[in-house]
């Protein structure tokens, strides 16, 4: 069973802010999804290769040829703030 504490932790990892009421709602909604997946888990997949994607496209590569990058003013146009050509964000201390 999914607990409220687990939902709170996942929300924190994903940097999603949720009120206590919202968390209660998510426990029920996410719980239904997990129940569905639990049913799929019952299917015997012994000997089946895992499917990590719908289309098994292989070996699509790109030549190592430089393309023209974006203009810096375009890059920074949507930045909340900038200084010396850098995005300016609230100070981060710990790694």
């Amino acid at each position: 069973m999914l607990t409220k504490e687990q939902v709170r932790q996942v929300a924190a990892l994903a940097r999603v802010r949720a009120s206590d009421d919202e968390l209660t709602g998510y426990v029920a909604e996410l719980g239904r999804i997990l129940d569905h997946v639990a049913r799929l888990q019952e299917v015997d997949t012994e000997g089946m290769p895992p499917t990590s994607r719908a289309l098994e496209q292989r070996g699509i590569l790109r030549e190592d040829m430089p393309q023209v990058p974006l203009l810096r003013e375009t890059v920074l146009a949507n930045a909340p703030d900038e200084r010396h050509g850098m995005f300016l964000v609230p100070r981060v201390v710990e790694e």
Partner: protein, 488 residues
């Protein structure tokens, strides 16, 4: 009796690959460009953009893995490692988790002990995988409450090389790292410059009582920015852990940073919650598809690697120490190999190169592969041959080399222009010997009274009289004969 502790070290090394463009987009990777001038929607993580792997990055990673004797997974896959940080625009890093490119390799190297002996070591490589680099955060020159983010480096191709915990001393960790750097230099997949961040090293360190099988509590050390600081940081950390245990303390599993100026490691005091990266398969990328032919072709493209080079030099008669000095320095090894191709004798060429030429270059701060080094491998090989065939003696060779270093002239030109050919004409030498004996009657008498050391003095006088050009072996023989003749 006090407990004796054993150190256990494993290294995680990140290497930037020397591609023209990033791992998943065509942005250039040149070092030192102004901030945010090498970015595009893919490496900015803008919605709707899709990654496409760089063929050369994969080829380079494969080459490194083969050089490390790894087993290759031809269907290796990409995963997302999820975490939030301003220098990671997508909120996840594309890396390889469950199916890395390579596993189970080895790095072989030798360590020179204090008594001059070399000891062969082998460290197992647990895995080698491909991933993309992050951007760079800075605080300098910015308002106190903000961080500046430059995304030029975001998406640059990296390989991460994880060793098994086979390293037993801080010195060995440094030598492992230097050997890894040399190996990668030979393959040409990276310029591996620690000072520019294209080679980065983190260490896992623990100590345990000797004889204990289980590992002690692991501490991760970051921020070691030079080979020297790797050794210093690990020495500090090992002492810290042993002192802590001996005084009855407990080691905490944590990440510590090395402070190069204060020469200590300090706890970065990150939050206690363990990292939870929630890895899952990258849905935007299919598995790799490395054909056996491609893997084989890449293996064939590897140059002669340091271990093989070192063995070859030893088989040519070099000492283990000289062989390793040459093999561990790609420009020096290539100079030496060119001397051999020009017909230089191995041992004599190695001595001429590592002692005489390098000594002169080091004194002026010139590197062997620098255009300012005016002596070519074939010119140095010629000098060696002039000594070997008796055209000049060893002492004159040093004078000739002085001029070669200064003017770039060939050995033969210097010898001819300055008339330095060795005098092997017995008549001329006999004449010089007789005049020296006549001019030094006191020394001759003392020699006969048993002061054998004076023989060297008399040889020196003869060499001086011939301006150093006399064949020393002949001088010795003639002088001995003349002294004996006169004593009878």
């Amino acid at each position: 009796m006090a407990t004796v502790y054993e150190t256990v070290i494993g290294l995680e090394v990140h290497v930037e690959l020397a591609t023209e463009t990033k791992m998943f987009c065509g942005c250039p990777t040149a070092f030192g460009a102004p901030p945010n001038t090498q970015v595009c929607p893919v490496c900015l993580g803008l919605p709707g953009s899709l990654p496409v792997p760089n063929a050369r990055a994969i080829a380079y990673a494969l080459k490194a893995a083969l050089a490390l004797e790894c087993e290759i997974d031809p269907e290796c896959r990409w995963d997302r490692k999820n975490y939030h940080y301003p220098d990671l625009p997508k909120g996840y890093q594309i890396t390889q988790y469950a199916r890395p490119l390579a596993r189970s390799g080895h790095l072989r190297f030798s360590i020179t002990e204090t008594n001059g002996d070399t000891v062969d070591r082998e460290v197992r490589i647990r895995r080698l995988h491909m991933e993309e680099d992050t951007g760079k955060s800075t605080h300098e020159g910015l308002p106190g409450t903000s961080t500046g983010v430059d995304l030029n480096r975001a998406g640059v191709p990296l390989i991460e090389i994880v060793s098994e915990p086979d390293i037993r001393t801080p010195e060995e960790a440094r030598v492992y790292l230097q050997a890894l750097r040399t190996l990668l230099l030979y393959t040409g997949v990276s310029d591996v410059k620690m000072e520019e961040g294209s080679l980065r090293c983190d260490a896992n360190v623990s100590v345990r009582p000797v004889g204990e099988d289980t590992l002690g509590v692991l501490v991760e050390i970051k921020n070691m920015n030079s080979f020297r600081s790797v050794q210093r940081a690990l020495e500090f950390e090992v002492n810290r852990q042993v002192d802590l245990l001996q005084s009855g303390g407990r080691i905490v599993r944590e990440t510590r940073h090395w402070d190069d100026r204060r020469e200590i490691t300090f706890s970065s005091r990150s939050k206690e919650e363990a990292h939870d990266y929630r890895y899952f398969p990258e849905p935007d990328l299919g598995p790799c598809d490395l054909t056996p032919a491609f893997v084989e072709q890449t293996r064939q493209s590897l140059p002669e690697l340091p271990t093989a080079k070192c063995q070859r030099y030893i088989s040519l008669g070099l000492s283990g120490y000289d062989a390793s000095v040459l093999a561990m320095d790609p420009p020096l090894a290539s100079f030496f190999d060119a001397m051999l191709r020009a017909g230089g004798a191995p041992r004599e060429s190695a001595a001429l190169l590592t002692v005489e030429l390098l000594g002169r270059l080091n004194a002026t701060g010139i590197a062997i592969h620098d255009p300012a080094c005016r002596v070519t491998p074939s010119a140095l090989a010629e000098l060696q041959k002039l000594v070997a065939d008796g055209t000049i003696n060893g002492k004159i060779a040093k004078e000739v080399l002085d001029e070669m270093v200064q003017t770039g002239a060939t050995a033969r030109t210097v010898v001819e222009n300055r008339g330095l050919r060795q005098v092997s004409d017995e008549g001329a030498i006999l004449e010089a010997v007789r005049s020296v004996l006549t001019a030094n009657p006191v020394e001759v008498a003392d020699y006969r009274d048993g002061k054998e050391k004076l023989f060297g003095f008399l040889v020196g006088q003869v060499m001086k009289a011939t301006r150093g050009k006399a064949n020393p072996a002949l001088v010795n023989a003639v002088l001995r004969r003349e002294l004996q003749g006169r004593s009878e």
